[in-house]
Subunit: 257 residues, 2 copies
């Protein structure tokens, strides 16, 4: 078994090291990851600038691109002829839960792997601040879970989003649904020393709606690992069918034959 | 009717002006948009830095945040007491099709509106380069479509992703499914004047798999406007049910009661 490991915190982060080390006991691990923290960068493929690749170590590479770029370069160039059986992204330092997953570089890497036809899992540890508490338990779960997944079939176009609570036992998990963010719809107004106003959005960044069976509830209320299966394709077929009866003046619906 | 208009190309872009002008004939329009082009920026809510708001004109504001920040600040602060009935994002200069929609600031703004409970539509014009050909037809369609939508009910958690081909008649559209990107899985290696190698990813950025009924086929093969209904929630319930039978050594699945 061959596993491609990447992340968005950078090739030197403790999370990717813990993940790669744990997975190397069950597979041949290749690391292709950003050369620095890329959490705030665009998550798309870099079409308009060239990319550099550096060899860091045996089967360890860094690039100056996004997490998605790393996956693309790994599968289509660095590991050509050595196609990975799985992709594992993480372990991200911080949660990737609820509606905010579309903004996550860790999840974006797993989306990219899924697009390229490789079963992909994103791992995140629900930490705040600089602590690495819970990293060993996260890595332990990643190893057990990827070993189990190797015996199963993950449907094409589906990726898995894993979030580990800080106090995890490294084993207990729940299969969840994507939850809902609840920042409190708050905007806090302040005035700077020059008398100009500025604004902070949201209240608690970890606030989520209390939805039984959701990712956030598993992690924060039950203290178990959350595993959410996600569709790459976001189409709503129900609404698509409903829209077949819409007739708007000034428009002409052309139905597909 | 009140419509909030935003985008990711910035408050001064031709696309947002064309959209706002067209919609102002059917609704009270408010513009809250980034003060500069934000296509390459992170698309999430800015939790870790304060934001500035500038009043540009009557009911026109810019912020130094992301498109999502603009929507959040508009709904929870600037338009408090004047809650918008709809959100229209765009008209983006360039396509937002297939798998790449998760990377789009234009779509991110519509996702944010949907999260906040406002029926939201993202409009993109499938241009390359600096031309604005097709902008008038796009704006015409946006007006007809939003006027029609005002008479209908868009299900909560669903947003619409509209892509207009350059040669559009401003009326003909098809209800589509999200397509698949096909960059050709190509990596082109070059050598710089200093002898170091660098890499270009992908082939043609507009390449998509030929899938009948997809967004890209409507736009590029049929020359009609594509309207794709998208789920905010990406959970795959089919895979979730299948995972209920998984038993992986070293893990303990805790099912929700």
């Amino acid at each position: 078994m061959r596993i491609l490991v990447t992340n968005d915190d950078g090739v030197r982060s403790p999370g990717i090291r813990a993940l790669a080390e744990a997975l190397s006991t069950i597979a041949e691990v290749w690391i292709v990851a950003p050369d620095r923290e890329r959490s705030a960068a665009s998550h798309s493929i870099s079409l308009h600038r060239p990319l550099r690749i550096s060899k860091v170590d045996e089967r360890v590479f860094s690039t100056d691109g996004t997490p998605s770029d790393c996956v693309y370069l790994a599968v289509n160039h660095l590991l050509q002829g050595n196609r990975p059986d799985f992709l594992a992204s993480g372990i991200n330092h911080g949660p990737n839960l609820a509606d905010d997953i579309t903004y996550s570089g860790t999840v974006a890497a797993a989306l990219e792997g899924t697009m390229l036809g490789i079963p992909s899992v994103a791992f995140s540890l629900c930490l705040r601040g600089r602590s690495t508490e819970g990293m060993a338990a996260s890595a332990q779960f990643a190893r057990s879970f990827m070993a189990g997944l190797a015996q199963r079939h993950l449907a094409p176009g589906i990726l898995l989003n894993v979030n580990v609570p800080v106090g995890s036992d490294g084993a207990s998990y729940r299969v969840t649904r994507q939850g809902k963010r609840a920042y409190g719809n708050e905007v806090i107004e302040r005035t700077d020393p020059r008398g100009r106003r500025y604004y902070w959005v949201g209240g608690d960044e970890l606030a989520h709606e209390n939805i039984p069976g959701s990712d956030a509830n598993a992690v924060y209320d039950e203290g178990v690992i959350s595993v959410t299966p996600l569709h790459l394709n976001m189409t709503s077929d129900a609404t698509r069918e409903e829209m077949a009866s819409w007739q708007f003046p000034g428009t002409a619906r052309r139905d597909h034959e």
